[in-house]
């Protein structure tokens, strides 16, 4: 069954898109991540224009994070106050990111920047996760009870504008969650991802937030940042394909259910190790593309009618 995507302006097999949504949904259910970092490259790989892939993916992520946050909300695992401070940062970051996206598009450097950011962030996160999960696996084997301080006092705790977050039992500078949100917002706009793979470790390691609240709070914040990104991509760049988003969504919802069920049988440190390897794999693939000689050094872009008023 083929479907014509009105904004991407191409015909695709509906089953292929559903299947991709399902596969990525499975992984995101299994590992508890959004899966945007897998979906955006996949969409580009099957020929969706990168700008449409990023815009549509942000739309799909709104749905994914709404359904994801519900479960956390019921259990009370969302720190709304902290989430709102992060949201402030991510709103600024998303708006700036979408403007930057448009500028880079005109300069013809958007594909390069998307790829470079992927390689950088995926490389950074996967190596951090790899080290962390290996260490915790070793620790589990050694069965050493962990003592230590509640959290380490670093330079970050010297920042001004301290704020109390009772739900998370934190007393930190508001600039910290604001800054994390800001960077997350830029990632949403440029990379078409929710940014969970960046937000979650940042909230755990930089903020020292309780692990139980991290997933729910980051998802809560991602709903809004991906929503803003969707609106801006639709409004400024006309790059949100509703039909494509619906197909991805349908597959993703289904896949996520199986993924969540499967995740119950996988110890968390092993699942983190697998996720780290998966992220590292995508990173290596993109890095190879970046450095390998392309089949042709040329690339073309067909411009739409642009009404130029005056000169």
């Amino acid at each position: 069954m083929t479907v014509y995507l009105p904004i991407a302006e191409m015909t695709v097999h509906a089953l292929l898109i559903l299947g991709m949504g399902c596969a990525v949904g499975f992984l995101s259910g299994l590992f508890g991540v959004g899966g945007g970092f897998l979906m955006t490259p996949l969409l580009i790989f099957i020929g969706i224009p990168p700008a449409v892939a990023v815009g549509t993916q942000s739309n799909q992520l709104v749905a994914a994070s709404v359904s994801g946050v519900l479960a956390h909300w019921r259990r009370g695992n969302v720190d709304v106050k902290l989430g709102l401070v992060m949201l402030g940062g991510s709103t600024v970051g998303t708006i700036g990111g979408v403007l930057l996206f448009g500028l880079l598009q005109r300069l013809g450097q958007i594909d390069l920047v998307i790829n470079l950011s992927y390689v950088f962030f995926l490389g950074l996160i996967s190596s951090l996760m790899l080290v962390e999960s290996l260490r915790s696996m070793l620790r589990r084997r050694a069965r050493k009870g962990g003592g230590g301080k509640l959290h380490n006092h670093t330079l970050l705790h010297g920042l001004p504008m301290k704020m109390r977050f009772p739900r998370s039992r934190l007393y930190v500078s508001a600039l910290l969650p604001f800054g994390i949100g800001f960077l997350g917002g830029v990632l949403v706009a440029i990379m078409g991802i929710g940014g969970g793979f960046f937000l979650v470790p940042a909230m755990i390691y930089l903020l020292g937030m309780p692990a139980t609240l991290v997933a729910g709070t980051s998802l809560f914040q991602i709903i809004f940042s991906t929503g803003i990104a969707t609106f801006l991509h639709a409004y400024q760049n006309h790059t949100v394909d509703i039909l494509l988003a619906i197909l991805l969504l349908a597959g993703g919802v289904l896949g996520a259910q199986f993924g969540t069920r499967a995740s119950g049988r996988l110890p968390s440190d092993q699942s983190r190790l697998l996720l780290a390897l998966l992220v590292a794999g995508v990173c290596v693939k993109l890095a190879i593309d970046l450095f390998s000689t392309p089949p042709t050094p040329f690339g073309i872009e067909i411009l739409n009618h642009v009404m130029v008023v005056g000169t």
């Binding site: 609106f231 509703i242 619906i246 067909i302």
Partner: protein, 256 residues
Amino acid sequence: MPGRAATFAQAAAALMAVLAVLAGRIDPARAQPLVFDLSDHLIAISTAFTGTEVVAFGALDEASDVVIVVMGPPRRVVVRRAEPIAGVWVNRESLTFVDVPTFYGVATNRPIEEIASVTALERHGIGLEHLQLQPEDGTEADPDTVEAFRQALIEDMQRRGVFGVDIGQVAFLGDRLFRTTISFPANVPTGQFQVSAYVFRDGTMLTAQTSPLVVSKIGLGAEIYWFAQVHAAAYGVIAIVIAVVAGWLAGVVFRR
């Protein structure tokens, strides 16, 4: 009424003239060296569009060669060349071409090089290698660079399947009647196309005729595209609402 009487008189005179011509000449087609049309002047792209075919047909007054050229709506096209910087391929030089047809296909009744000389083809811009592609005004690039970028543009459009497409062959029924089936791929660009028929005899172009063809989206796809362009803000809001509702439904239905 005098007006109507006059019109009737004129029509009668015209009819008499036509009859006189027909009586005098046994072959009426001789009056016109080329008659040419398309089976369809509108290609409608619906959500299930997977490509389509249009028949181009016509009649000649004498046995000749026919070249049919299909050109998509013109657009500006940016060509960029990447160079390795510290091992990473980065786009550096760019050149913008104006009035680039977004679709280009040629059909002939025999190999084009047998029909006309290179000079003749070049003069009329027939065939991919003779296609006129001009960089925009104020371009300072030297001719070699322009040629390299031009070549890259053509190759890229060929890879996309919209340039140099094998749109079919011109078939003759007898000496005078010709037809060809033009196939359009699923990714055919939208807009105003020009389908031209050129008549060559002994390497010289005798006449040419152009017929318009509109490729347009219809149905749900067209509505969505139009809405996304014209009411971009509302479209963005609707996209978000759909996603929120779908996500909420999924979360409720598959309650963990």
